[in-house]
Each structure stands twice: as C-alpha cells, then as structure tokens.
Symmetry: C2
Subunit: 231 residues, 2 copies
DNA sequence: CACACTCCGAGAGCACTGCTCTTGACTCGC
DNA sequence: GCGAGTCAAGAGCAGTGCTCTCGGAGTGTG
C-alpha cells in the first residue's frame, strides 16, 4: 500500500499525472495489473491517494518553514513572548516554502493546482482536510497583520454582502478573527500566489522568464506580501 | 479541417482535454479514425490547433471589451481625444472579459492555463503569437497607468538586475514604455488574474465559494487593479 | 482514349490502457 | 484435516493513438 503510493509518486515525477498507469505500477511492484486492484479500487482512487499525500507533504513543508522563521525571530529578539516573527516575514516564509516545494515536485504541484485530471473530480471529503491546511495558515497570517490598514488614505473596498457573510463564516471555521475585507485580500493573495507559482512551474511566461524565475518570484512575493499585510 | 477544430471544441466542451479522442472526432465526421490522420498528424497537433484557436478567441473577446469601454468613455466624456477610458476601467474591462470567457468556456480555459496536457508541451513557435496578445494589452494598460506611483510613501521595491534587464527587453518587445517595476507589477497582476480565474473555474476554493464566485471575483479584480495602477 | 498520378477514405493490425472475472495457491483458526 | 479467507495470476473486453496497405475516385497528359 505504502509502496503503491511511493511508486505512484516516482512515476508521477517522471511522467506526469496523465501518464500514470496502474499497469506500470504493477510492473514496478513485480505483480500483474489486476493484483493492484486488491489495494486500490480504481485509477481515480490512486490519484486521490497521491493528491492527499502531496497536500500533506506540502503542508508539512510550509509548517516547517513557519516554525523555523518563528524560532529564528525568537532567538533574534530574545523576547520569548511566543508571538513569532512579524506577518511579512511569516508570509515570505510560507510563500518561499511553497515555491521551493513546487520547484522540487513540479508534477505533484500540477496534480494539486493544475487541471483537475481528465474528467476526474477530487472527492472533497477526503482531500479537504489536508488541502486547506496551508491556506488556513495564510489566513491566520493575514488576520494577524490586517488589523486597521491605515484606513483614511486607502482605496475603499466594496465587498458584496453575500460574499461577506460567506467569508466571515469561513474565517471562523478556520479559527481566525478578521473582517471580510481581510478575507478577500487573503483569498486574492492566495490565488495570486498559486497563480505565480503555476506560471513558473508551467513555464507560461516563456523560457527566458523561467531562467530568472527565482528572482522574479521573489519580487512578486513581496508584492503579494503588500497585499496580505494591507500594504 | 475547420470541421475538425469545430468538433474538437465541441468534444472539449463536454469531456475535457484529457478525454479528447481522435477516434471520437472521426465518428463525428462519419469517417474511420485513420482518415483523420490525413489532416492532422497526431493528437498533439490537434491539441495545438485547439489551443491557438482558444487563444485567438479569448484575445478577440478581450479586444472587443476594450474597444467597447473605450468607445463608451468617448461618448461620455465627449472629448474625442482618442485617449480612451482610464487605466482602471480598462483593466476592469479586460479582467471581466477574461472571467466571462473562462466561465463560458471552462474546458478551453483549462487547455490554456491549466496543466499542460499529459507530457505534451505546447510548441511555442505556433502558440506564442496569439497567446501573448491579451497579456500585451495588459502590459500597455499598466504602462499607461504606472508613471510615478506616489514614490515617497510607498514601500520601496528591489528588482533583481537580471530580472530588470529581461523585463525591460520584453517591454520594448511588446512596444510599451515603462520601467521594470511597472513590469513586475504587471506580471504579478497577470499571474494573479490567471490564478483567481483558475481558482474559480477549477472550484479550488470549495463549492460554496463557487456559488458567489462572480461577486468574489469582482472584489479580487479591484485589488488587482490597485496593483496594476500603482494603487 | 488510356495511362499515370495524386488525393482521400476504409480496414486491419500493433501496442497500449483501465478494468473485470475466474482460477488456483497459500495461510490461518477451528 | 478442513473450510475460510487472502492474495496474485491469467485471460479477456472495450477502448485508445497510430501505422500500414489497399482500393476507389478524380484529374491532368500523351
């Protein structure tokens, strides 16, 4: 079972989700294809397994990065208050951890944030738990930063009332205290972050942009940090 | 030939790119599968055809929307200067046109900005021309807006020198006059726009978020407009 | 008119896929 | 010892992309 996921990830890394084949996995296991169906009842279920595995792996990487930056700020400041690093540094850590993970595991990133594979829709009930972990952490960062974003001078925002109630419901679901405006800024920054990483992984900005991708991403992350922290 | 693309789009609309089958298209044409290979030499080439078709269609839709908003501002202002609408309105028009197109043609959007299909990488030489049309228009909008973004009070930006030269080269390639900072803001807004639309089309924010997706997208577009116009 | 040449589609076939069903071997508890 | 349960093998079905050959149309040329 664990070996199936392991082989699946290996095959994912060198082919891509569309080429993932249970027969090939069976060959890797030294069995015939039908035997694999003892353990996983369809190719879609195998994909689901790999998806939750990838979600968990990504979330672990992000958690590690956040723990590290928090620990670092503790040492630097010597305060020992447990408040951790400032929101901008935390967002930067989260974002760069995601970028790094995506660059190391492009096919798994594709599996999570690319096209839902060929008519297969991920069963929300089994992927949501791990799939929302890192987004929840980002919401917390945004809530932490977004108290009162220098109200007077900023462009006023109109949040649709329906969106507002929905966002506020989700904010309490994730256990963060913030108003809807922080929520829409966080969601936008989240989608933007996924977007710039996908653009990089999928090389949608051209081959030469990919060459300097790391530096370009750094600048873009700063802009998104502006968005999250209320500029 | 044109019928092949037509049937391909139809099949795309109801199945998705992964399920696109030249045999099925042959059935729609009333021929046997091998006959299709007279006109298109592989499934990948068929995909490429559909991709450039989709790029052109999207770009046309955006062009129409921009022409309309410019014409509207002419009538309203009665100035007849030919300057068109202000950058924020133009960006809004571009973004909502993209959103609308993506919602109407989710599978084609997926083809363009989702996962590159299963080991197939789009041949840049044939897709670039149409693929960059709408991004070029957005760069022009950003350049138009981004003269001097109230320098004193804003967070200073560090653009990597390598990124700077590359961006500036691309800016002149697209015929817009702007510095690298405008470029990185535009690229970020572009990737962000693609990201929020993909999040919506792929329903990555959950089923209930999809229900109020249109209003949520409107708020997000405003935030990205801030980014493009230098807040 | 007859020949040749090109274009188009049919059909068979290869290697591959996901998936199902049946059959047989092995192990464990009673 | 002997059922019961677990596991894998093997055959097979329907589907895929793609290649090859062959046989009819149409068309131009001597």
């Amino acid at each position: 079972m664990a070996r199936i996921v392991e082989l699946g990830n290996a095959q994912l890394a060198e082919c891509g989700a569309g080429e993932l084949s249970v027969r090939e996995i069976a060959r890797g296991l030294g069995m015939v294809s039908s035997a694999v169906y003892r353990y996983v009842c369809s190719r879609d279920e195998l994909l689901t397994l790999l998806i939750v595995d990838a979600y968990a792996d990504l979330a672990d990487a992000v958690d590690d990065a956040l723990a590290e930056v928090d620990a670092g700020s503790e040492v630097d400041a010597g305060s020992g208050t447990g408040a951790g690093a400032d929101p901008r540094a935390r967002f930067r850590a989260l974002a760069t951890a995601m970028v790094r993970w995506a660059v190391v595991h492009p096919e798994r990133w594709t599996l999570l944030y690319g096209t839902p594979v060929s008519g297969y829709d991920a069963p929300a009930e089994s992927t949501n738990a791990d799939g929302t972990r890192v987004m929840a952490r980002m919401l917390a960062i945004a809530a932490d930063a977004g108290g009162a974003p220098a109200a007077g001078e900023r462009h006023e925002m109109h949040v649709d009332p329906e969106v507002q109630t929905l966002l506020e419901a989700h904010l309490v679901e994730f256990g963060v205290q913030a108003d809807a405006e922080v929520g829409v800024r966080a969601v936008t920054a989240w989608s933007g972050l996924v977007g710039i990483i996908s653009a990089h992984v999928f090389r949608q900005l051209g081959a030469d942009a990919a060459a300097v991708g790391e530096q370009l991403l750094a600048s873009q992350v700063e802009l998104l940090a502006d968005l999250v922290t209320g500029r």
